[in-house]
């Protein structure tokens, strides 16, 4: 996925610890930050979103396969 530049406020001590870790591990700050945020999102958001998928309603729409031709051709 692409990278974006955002401005956010963070506690100074967290920022300084992140910089220290970046130097110690010789890895870019952005990489450490991305890894940490991704881990957090998996812990917090991933399970909840997956549960939403597992609990989607079940519809009865016929057993024919779906193709892009069906979607776009004979549009009406």
């Amino acid at each position: 996925m692409g990278m974006v530049v955002k401005s956010v406020r963070v506690k100074e001590e967290i920022w300084e610890n992140l910089r220290r870790l970046s130097k110690e591990e010789n890895r870019p700050l952005a990489q450490l930050l991305n890894e940490a945020l991704e881990k957090y999102l998996i812990e917090k958001g991933g399970k909840k979103a997956a549960e939403k998928i597992r609990r989607l309603p079940e519809l009865s729409l016929g057993n024919e396969p779906l193709s892009r031709e069906e979607i776009y051709e004979g549009r009406y």
Binding site: G46, L59, L61, G62, R68, R75
Partner: protein, 136 residues
Amino acid sequence: MKVGIDTNVLFYSLNKDNPFHREARENLATLVENCSAVITQQNLVELAAALTKRGTTPKEAEKHIRNFAEAIPVLKPIAETLELLLDRMKDSTLTGARLFDLYLAVTLMSNGVDHLYTYNERDFRNIEGLSLWKPL
């Protein structure tokens, strides 16, 4: 690794009549749980079209679309998407509705996604830079 989800996977995950229903739903849930799954706006519009063509009302379809949009990050075409589409069209034999396959592929690739989970593998097999995702 991020994996683009094709419209047929979304559709089969809802459609209990389809033989891939359970597999599609569980694979999708696992990819969502790992924060690997992404979809595009094109997928959601296609899903709306497919659902309403098979008898779902637009009002019901809106709820299903919203469920997916709330659970899975939705990618949008970016400036490079059109350029990549036009570049690939130069050497392509794809025509008609098949160009929407290519548009989906370049929307994913221009957003840095190079894997696709689909049940129409034949349609994407020859798109350079895009690999088909298979469950382990």
